[in-house]
Every structure is written in C-alpha cells, then in structure tokens.
C-alpha cells in the first residue's frame, strides 16, 4: 500500500492536478455557498468539462468540488443563517449565533480549520480501513438504519434544552411534513390532494432556505435590526492557535463519527452532524453555551460533516455503491471515464486509487488555505447594509428555490416555509428539529417498514446493534428530560 500511495502522491504533485484541486475547491465553495445549489449539482455541472481530461485529473477536480461544496454550505449558515445543506443546519445553530454576537471571524475560522482537519482524518480512515468498513456497511440491516435514525432524532432533547416540548412538537411537524408525497413502500399518494407537484413531497432545499434564511430576514425586519457591524469591530477576533488546540478532541471525535456514519449508504452527513453535536454537548464542560454561540458546537457539526465525505467514499470506491447524491454523480463520472468503481479498481488501477486518496488529503490541506483566504472575503457580508442584505437574501431564496427543479411551486413552498419559520421562531419553537424531522423521517419510515417486511417487529430487539442503538436513543431522549423542568424556560430558542 505504501508504494502505491507514494506513486499516487507523486502523480498528484504536478501542476495540473494542483491546479485542478484549487479550481475545484473554489468552484465547490461557491456552489456550496449559494443557497439552492447542492454539492451534487456542482459536481454534475463540471462533469462535461472533464471529458477531455485524464481520468485521474477529472476525478481530482470533481472530488475537490465535492470537498469544497461540503464546506461551502457552512459559510452562508454562519454569516446569514442560510444553510446550503441539511447538515449545515447544525453549523448554523451556533455559527450564526456567533455572528450575531459579532464573532463571525471566529465561527468561520473554526469551521474551516475543523472541516479541513476532519476531511484529512476521514481520508486517512478511508485509506487504511476502506475494505473492512465496507464489509460492515453492507451488513447494516434496515432495523439498524431505523435505530440510527431514531438515535439522530433523539438529539432533539439536546438541541432543545428547556424548550423540549416545543422542540418535540417542531420535530413532529417535520416528520408529518415528510409523510406528504408518494409512499416509498406502497407507491400510494399520501396527503397530496391529487396535486402533482406534491407527489415528491416538499423538497428539502426550498424548505431549508425558507425556514432558515427567510425566517431570519423576517425576524430581523420585525425587530428593525438594521445595525451594520463594521469590519473593524470583528477583524481582531480570528481564533488563536490555543483555541484551535482546545477543540482537538471534539474535532477528532466528530470527524470519526462523521466518517463512520458516512459509510452507510443513505444515512449521510446530516445524522452525523446532529449526533456529533449531541455528543459534543453532553461531553462539554460548558453545555449551556450550546445554541448560544459555542465554538465546540460549530467544530462538532463541521468536523462530522467533512468527515462524512471520506466515509461516503468507502462504499463508492470499494463496492461502486453511491451512498449519497454527490457520490452517485461521481459514479457516473467514473463510468464516463471508463472506470468501473468497485473492488476490481483497486486491483486494476491501484495508482489511480491511491492517487485519489493523496489528492483528497491535499485538497483538504488546500481547503485550509483557500477557505481562510476566502473567509476574509465572506466576513465582509457583515459590512453590507442590512436592507441590501435582506433584499438580496430574499432574491437568492426565490431563485435558489426555483432552480432546484425549475418550479414556481418550490418558490411558493420556500416562502410558505419562511412564514412558518418566522411564526414558530416568534413563539420560541426551535427550527432545527423541523429539518431533522424532514430529513430523518423518510429514513426512519422506509427502514422501519422494510425491516418489518423482512423479519417482523421482533427484529428491532433481536439484532444487537439495533437494540443497543434503540437503547441509546431512549437514554438520549429521556436523560435530558429528567434533568429539565419543562415549565422553566430560561434559555432562549436555539435557532
């Protein structure tokens, strides 16, 4: 393996691959930062440009876009509370709180450094353990996927603090919204009122943009919060080396959680981010700061998100099985370049595979440079006059929601979710559980029904992993509630 890695690294250390990494990162960050554009869209957009390239160069470019876009979603999450992806919702909780406290540089700095470090950790895990991890990934029964989704949902207790009741109601709203559309098992239309655009239910991206970006704009306009925080107020607040060092354990732990959960096809970065955040809060010495602008919260969410990229590459490279929308595009791109991802690829083109590993390591290192340089630019968002920023966010929300599938229906949904988010936020209902419910609802339902179809109801308890995860989920639900008096609402909403 070492000689393959060395050969692969040497082939990456040339002008064109380095240029491809830089270009890919810049494009990816921009794509991730524009609400409505997803990492998969960014990668697909660039596939035609790779036709004339060598397979290695093409994949390096596309992987760099994937890595850049996975990070890019956190920029808008932190600066304007508009997470580009569902996993960036967790980053927004503390990241945007830090921005509102006048500490955007600190949040951006932490997010980029933890992203890059976690990305490297994920890549190292991918290099060393991809084969055994792939073997574990395929043995995950639907009962275990269901238990994992439930464990993810259990983080609501952690997100909510004293507002647990409202958080549960918000989560069930998300779960119920998720049931609208074609039933994944029977194929029947559920709650669609015979309206075709509803047959796919409410798409996540317009809902995300509405619930977070638009509701934030509406709240700020309601509060007439038009104060401009000038750059000179925040310029000196980039995190120090000591602050980064203090986050080493939370970063390492979250990166490993992200990588491990990322390997399961269909589970993905969102569950990883929420679970990492939950664990980080439980293990923190200052849990009360979570939701109020905690550095650990940002680090946990971002590290898990970036770590999951390496995890998602495990089933892709070892079995040719895409675990997410972006890796599905990468499979297509590999096939266009006449590469059949799977076990044979390790035997037929080891230098290519290890070259890709080396490129991923390098891309994460480069992300640090590009991201830190870019952060100095992104931070200027705080300098934009608020009326301009609010109107531009509303325009971006409209065009972003429309571009998901060229549908005005999604724009109406986005606006509807914006109003819903504002109403809920006004009454201290946290919004992150709504998204958590929307994301995990379908994973929980399809796997629950699939598991019952395969092995009956008892399977949830007879499979040890499922039973343990369900037990942990139960504990996660109950423990914070036992400690919390529901009638006291000392803490403001987490969003």
């Amino acid at each position: 393996m070492i000689e393959h890695l060395l050969a692969g690294s040497l082939s990456v250390l040339a002008w064109w691959p380095l240029l491809a990494i830089l270009a890919g990162l810049v494009i990816g960050i921009i794509v991730g930062a524009i609400p409505g554009l997803s990492p998969s869209m960014g990668v697909a957009l660039l596939v035609p440009f790779t036709y004339g390239m060598s397979p290695m160069l093409a994949l390096i470019l596309l992987l760099a876009i994937y890595i850049g876009a996975s990070y890019g979603g956190s920029i808008t999450a932190i600066t304007i509370n508009a997470p580009g992806t569902a996993s960036a919702v967790v980053t927004a909780i503390d990241g945007h709180a830090m921005t509102r406290q006048g500490r955007p540089a600190k949040a951006l700095g932490i997010s980029i450094v933890t992203s890059a470090v976690a990305g490297m950790i994920g890549t190292v895990v991918l290099m060393l353990f991809s084969q055994p991890l792939a073997a574990i990934a395929v043995t995950f029964h639907p009962a275990e996927y269901f238990a994992l989704a439930l464990f993810g949902l259990a983080t609501i207790s952690s997100l909510a603090g004293a507002n647990w009741l409202k958080a549960f109601i918000a989560a069930i709203i998300g779960l119920l919204i998720n049931t609208i559309g074609t039933d994944p098992i029977s194929g029947a239309d559920r709650f669609t009122f015979n309206y075709t655009p509803l047959s796919d239910g409410f798409l996540l991206i317009p809902a995300l943009i509405g619930l977070f970006a638009l509701s934030e704009v509406f709240s700020r306009i309601e509060q007439r919060d038009f104060r401009v925080r000038h750059l000179n107020e925040v310029q000196d607040s980039w995190p120090s080396w000591l602050e980064y060092w203090q986050l080493k354990w939370v970063t390492l732990r979250s990166a490993l959680i992200g990588t491990l959960i990322g390997i399961f096809p269909g589970a993905g970065a969102t569950i990883a981010s929420f679970i990492s955040y939950d664990i980080a809060k439980k293990r923190s010495q200052t849990p009360e700061q979570f939701g109020q602008g905690s550095s650990e919260g940002v680090a946990a969410a971002e590290a898990a998100n970036s770590g999951s990229v390496g995890g998602a590459m495990v089933p892709l490279l070892t079995l040719g099985i895409p675990g997410s929308a972006t890796t599905a595009v990468l499979v297509g791109a590999m096939m266009i370049h006449k590469l059949n991802p799977g076990p044979q690829l390790f035997l037929s083109s080891p230098e290519l595979m290890y070259g890709l590993f080396a490129a991923m390591l390098l891309a994460n290192a480069a992300l640090l440079l590009v991201g830190l340089a870019g952060s100095r630019l992104w931070i200027r968002v705080t300098d934009i006059p608020k009326p301009v920023l609010f109107v531009l966010i509303s325009l971006m929300a409209v065009i972003g929601a429309y571009s998901v599938r060229n549908s005005m229906f999604d724009v109406f949904c986005c606006l509807g979710f914006g109003i819903l988010g504002w109403v809920l936020k006004r009454k201290d209902y946290p919004l992150a559980p709504v998204i958590l419910g929307m994301v995990l609802g379908s994973i929980a339902e399809t796997n629950f029904r699939r598991a019952v179809m395969m092995d009956g109801y008892e399977v949830f308890l007879t499979r040890p992993v499922s039973a343990i995860l369900l037990g942990l989920a139960l504990l996660s639900f109950v423990l914070p509630l036992v400690r919390t008096n529901p009638t006291t609402r000392k803490h403001p909403p987490t969003d």
Binding site: I169, F191, I221, L319, G320, S394, F448, V452, M453
Partner: protein, 526 residues
Amino acid sequence: MICFQSVQHSAFKACCKRVCWWLPALLSLLLCLPSLQATEAEPSDPFPTQPIRIVVYTSPGGLIDLTARRFADIARRYSEVPLVVINRPGGGGIVAFEEALQRPADGYTLLAVTRSNISKMVATGREDLIEQLDWHSYIMHNPHVLITNRQSGLTSWQQLQADAVSKGDRQLWLGADIGGVKHVSGVKMAKQAGIQMRWIPYSSGGQAIAALLGNMGDAYLGNPRDALASDDLTLVAVAASERLADFPEAPTFTELGIPGLEQELIWRGFALRQGVPEQRRQWFRQLIYQVSQDPDWQASWANDGVTLAYKDSTAFQALVARDTQEFQYYLTEIGLLREPGERSSLLAGIGEQQARQFFTASLLLINAVLALVLFRSSWRSHAAELMILSGITSLALLFYLMTVSLPPPSTADMVGAQGVPRLWIYLLLPLALYQVALILRHPKKNRLRKRPRLLFRFLSAMICYVLLIPILGYWLASLLYLPAGLYLLKYRQPKAMLALTTGWLLFSYLVFQRLLYVELPVGMLL
C-alpha cells in the same frame, strides 16, 4: 403629524426624481435579456443554430443520466451545436415530461426516456403524457437479471427456486422502487416460474445491492453491471433470448425452461414533443445513427451488459403502446392500480372526498371562530401560540382522516402506508394538548408586541413579487421588486440601487440562465 407626512412626501418626490433617470436604462437592459435567450425558430430556419437540451428525468448520476451525457459528448463530433444535459428530477419523470411538453416544438428539447417512465405514468394515471410525446428513437436496452450473493449459498436459479418453494412467500427479492419496471418484471418472473416472492423496495439499485451483499435478501433484480460490485455476486438468470457476451456463464430463463421473459428489459431512447418539423426529426435520426455507429460510443458500453439496438419511431411507438397496456395489467394485479387507466387520485383511494371537504370546512370554521374569540379575550397575548397549536392539531386531524383511505396493512407490508403518519399524529396530539395545558395553567404575562408593520409591508412586497413572476416574468418582477424592497426598508441610495438591480439581473442571467441552464420564467407578457 402633518409635518412628518409632508417631509415624507417631499422625500418620496425627490427619490422618484432621482430614480426616474435610471429606470429607462434598466428597462432597456431588461428588454435585452430575453433577446439573449433562445429565440423560437421557424421550421424553415437552418437547424440547429443553438444548443440542444437533453432533459433527463433523474438527478445526475443515474444510468439514464450517464447515457445522456455520453451521448451528448459523442454527438458533439457530429453536431455544430453542443447538446447540454439538463436534470429535471421529480414525480418519476412527470416533471421532465411536462417541461419537455411545455417547450416549443422546435426540436431544441430532447427528452431522454426509459421504460421506467411508462410504468410511472401508468401508475400515476398520466398516460396523457405518453400520448403527447413523439417517441423518436430507441437506442439500447439491457435485460433484467437476477443476482444472488454466493455467501448465502444460493448460486444458481435451481437453488433459488428450491429456496422459494421451501420459504413460501418469504423469499425476499430486493430492487429499486415499488410498482416500477423492475418490480413488474419480478412479479412476471415469479409468476412464470410458479414461485412466490416478496418484493422489498429500496430507493436505489445501489442500496439494494448493498443489502444483498449484507445478505438482507435472497436475490436482487436489476441490471447486469450491478453484479460488478463484488466478486460474491453472481447472475443466476438473465431475461434475454440469448446469453450475454459479458456474462457468458449466466443462463437465460428460456434455457432454464421458463419461457416468455425474453422482453423483460429496460430500454432507453429519446423522445421529442409532437409537432417537431419533419426536417428536424430527420436531423436527429441522422445524428443518433451517427452516434450509434461511433466506435467510442460502442466501446463505452462494452462490459456493461448493454445491447445497442436502434428502433425507429414507428417501431418505438408500437413498443411503448404495448408496454403501456402491459403495465396497466400488471400494476392492477399487484394492487397498485385499481382499474387500468384509473387516475392517481384513486390510486390513493380517496373515495370519501365529500367527507373530507366537510371535515376541512368544519376545521377552518372552528379555527376562525377560535381566532376571533382568542384575539378579543384576555388570552390575547397567548392567542398567536394557541392558534399555532390549533392549526397544527387541525392539520393532523385532517391527515388522520385521509389515512383512512390509504392502503391498509397487508401480509407483505404489515405497517402499511397509514401506519407511520398515524404514529406521528398519535405523538403530536398529546404533546400539543400538553403545551396548551401549560399555557393555560401558567399564563405568564406575555408582552403584547407591536404590530410589525414594516415586516408586513415587506412580506406583502415579497408575496406580490412571487405572484408576479409567472405573469410578468422573472426579469421584470425582479426589476420592480429589488428597488421596491430596498425602498421599503428605508434604503435611499439611488445609485447603489441601480448598481444592485443591474448587478443582480446580470448575475441571475450569467450564473443561473447561462451557466446552470435554469430557464427563468419569462412570464405571459413576453
């Protein structure tokens, strides 16, 4: 007060005066933008003169997406204009079909189609979309195959069949989608072989293959190349008239003594909307023929178990008609379609429409009365939250009523389509009631907030903007909304407003329209 109004009025006049010089400039920019877009060509015009869009009904990464992208790449050698792949996922193809049908019949929109589209249109009662298309060219197919995992001990069809007999209806076949083309093929295979199987649908073939590798099921039904995921996977039967060159060890169903499955395949091709001039149809015929003969095109499908076969429009239309009838029959048999051709409303089984309407009206009335009472009572400070809870509870009750007409649990699906929504509703109702009880028991003095007039104005402007987009088009609506929104938020910098409006329109055009091929609405006026 009067003084304030007059100051406001004069400020408004001054602002209007400043604004009026740049409005014409912006309007001319706006008028230029659509002219930069694709103009509709006359049938006699030279063709093609602008990029051709290939609309794909899936997200990037699927096999049809890959086919379209490979085709677009090689077609560039024979076409003076590029072919650009546009992904329009949603509704199992309905979104892409509707988009292709909304475009002019000028030949600049090609729809990449597969047999899956037929099953979906039939399942949702949208056969009208099938009828409105010109099924132009059939370009390839690959047979459906049954794959098993050697680790499970099932390495041949005979073993799989014997296992099915011993398990009754407990043999699990994994695959993508319910009621899809593979599901229907599986039903036909089991029927022809005289066995029973239980179809376990996954959201993608990749996830189903992963489950087979983990021994979650007994067989997987999919494409031949899916077997390349692992050396443990083996093809036990192929639904084709002869063995596949790339998988010579795998027997066909005919060889196994099970006839009638030679056409169980997934085909791929291209369709146009009806009414495209014959000369342009001919151009596509020639292009598709040239691509089909290209050595790189042929080499790119080697080892994938794909058969490249061209069928012209007449043969393709006949095949589509046959498939439509077949899916109507089998989806009815599976229970996903009550009667052939029936619409999706009945697929969901919503027969109690009147009861639902009555219930909805009652809930609306109750909420309206409750709102009136609460906002005029001493509970006014809590009225908003109580109304939120009342609204959520009402919606949950309506959903509960609608679950009555969803497919009930069965031996194959013991939870049923209604199980999980009901579970969430059962959880929501007591929590919502508990929250109401907490409010009523601890009526903290909520400070009555001032009515957020500025927000309501801004919200009204935004709602008008969104409603006006389909009428005025994106460009004109944005041109009006951006300065109006800024003005409402008390931003009074005409030059900056001009720069922002121009910059935004250019950004939208360059990034979304040109780079991402997002067709922004042009409205009814242009």
